[in-house]
Amino acid sequence: MLGTRVIIETLKREGVDLAFAYPGGQITPLFDEFYDERDIRLILPRHEQAGAHAADGYARATGKVGVVITTSGPGATNLATGIANAHLDSVPLVAITGQVPSPLIGNDAFQEVDVVGITRSISKHNYLVSSPGDLAFMLRAAFHIARSGRPGPVVVDIPSDVQRAEIARPIPDKIVLPSYQPNYEGNPRQIERIAGLINAASRPLLYVGGGVVGSEAADDLRLTAATAGLPAVASLMALGTLPFDDPLFLGMPGMHGTPAANRAIMNCDLLIAVGTRFDDRVTGKTESFAPLAKIIHIDVDPTSVAKNVRADLPVIGDAGNILRRLVPQLKKRERREWLEEIALWREESAALLGRQAASGLSAPRVVREMARLSRDLQPILVTDVGQHQMWAALHWEHRRPRGFISSGGLGTMGFGLPAAVGAQLGRPDSLVFCLSGDGGLQMNIQELCTVRRLDLPIKIVVINNGCLGMVRQWQEFFWGRRYSHVDLDDNPDFGRIAEAYGLRALAVNDGEGVSPALEEAIRHPGPVLVDVRVGKGDNVFPMVPPGEGLDRILLSAPPAAEGESASREAGAG
């Protein structure tokens, strides 16, 4: 069988029916084989980076492995950001790159780069297929590694002569990697100890991370919380694992978390962390994080445990497996005092956030209207990165896992639009919103063409404040209001750009315009871009200043510093 046929048959064997693929010299053999292929649909992005983000969004929306295919050299280097993005958020992805023919490797051939070298530290694993006989094994191993354990991206670099080789060896049925055996089970005695600690705790708190989504364990988590009566907070990656309106759910903790979530962390006596790496954006100053609590840390990745924050009881294994065995051992306890406090904090935070959306034209109001109008449409909200992302996290009605898709770990501007393409292709029956900023949208704006080409009914909402708002906010608070290179006043008219690509365009200039525009966008059967022109000076609150503990919450801009140099020093940390 021809190498390119081996690739396609292996992809089918792995359940792939769709891949994001951009052609080029050294991957042409594979594209030729795809020419007559009917079982795998190829989607053409307009930039390889967007292909990687689209595969990432597809994977997050469906739970399946996303696949992206590019040529060697610039095709492969353009993938790097997308691969790193998937790596930091533990998204299963397989990236297939063409490579110059084996005899030319190392010769600085045309469009040659050392893909394995470049992607080594930003992927979960990578392979250079140096012998045709290894092709099927390495591809199958790539899928196995991408989706198992702590998921992540795997790169398979395939020289064009390997693609064109006649391969006699059959596609292996079983992949055994003796050196890669993730531990899923969780030690039963450790699980007993978790139950003991929870049952004895007076002020327990669940801290949920994206691992719960990856392990498809949201139902187990909800059952755990309900059985023991545990209040909970969720990281950006885990929003939706618990419904936003659950009285025991306090939202997201951390730098732009709710005061309720941060207070709960500061006051709990037991923190049960599940599938999270304790990102510094969540913990703030680690020395003062959860100062009163014993910490239980459940994670499938042993390196995440006790890396940033001490763990009093580490438990290595799959979140779902461990929670399912934990639930029968849990007792419901009264804990009235703690739950009363929780309820009070929750109410205060809800009121605070409600006020942000109360009047005028603001991003919080837009996000809330998007949520309200799409309640029955299985909405998926895909965001870009920046202020709008935090407003979305705080104000969206998170109801189910995989309904909120955002670049958490890498914070990649330009992620939103292509990821929305992937999400819509993976979930054709969902209403997909792409919430972006005027900065991030322009980092992959060419994907408007992909949206149009496939007629994806994505509703793109641009929170357009004419500046790089998050950086501007930091410059305002911590850098003496020296607004260095954040002004985007010369933005083009996004409506006209959208129209030029063939999309419908709407603009919103005041608070009254929000609902009608969103209603019209949702009603329209095709893609729409809504340009929402908000104020330049709007800031995201609450905010815990960088490097501070979670008890230091800003609810308004700090007073301007007396001396500019002093404030610059403060911001340097």
Partner: protein, 163 residues
Amino acid sequence: MPAREKRHIISAVVENRPGVLARVVSLFSARGFNIESLNVGETENPRWSRMTIAVSGDDGIIEQIRKQLEKLVDTLKVGELSESARIERDLALIKLRMPPARRGEMRDLADIFRARVADVTERHMTVEISGDEDKIEAFVRLAAPFGIVEMVRAGRIAIKRGD
């Protein structure tokens, strides 16, 4: 003198394939861990190589290094060889300036340290010595007055003591 962090010896069995060494080394640099010495060689089974890595750090860092190494897809197992349970050896080749008249003196010194004379020329003598680090350093100190022209030291190897 600042308190030195404890020296640890980590022994990892990894796939004997191109690129695996680069993967391990780049893991160390990406995470900011410093390798003091590294030795790689085939094990009794040619599918696997053994890496013996000497690093210094507090227990938390060493634990992270171990776990990060274990996480690599190419790593079969990782162990730490504790000081009491390991035999470790360094190897050094030392080329000394050596007028013929002083050769006997050097040979006496080498005998005491169970070092071996590996090569003699009219002006030079090359001595091979293996042993633990302290022994090699003591020998180097005593040999230095002869004039060290060149010295090459191999990475540390270590093995767990028998039961």
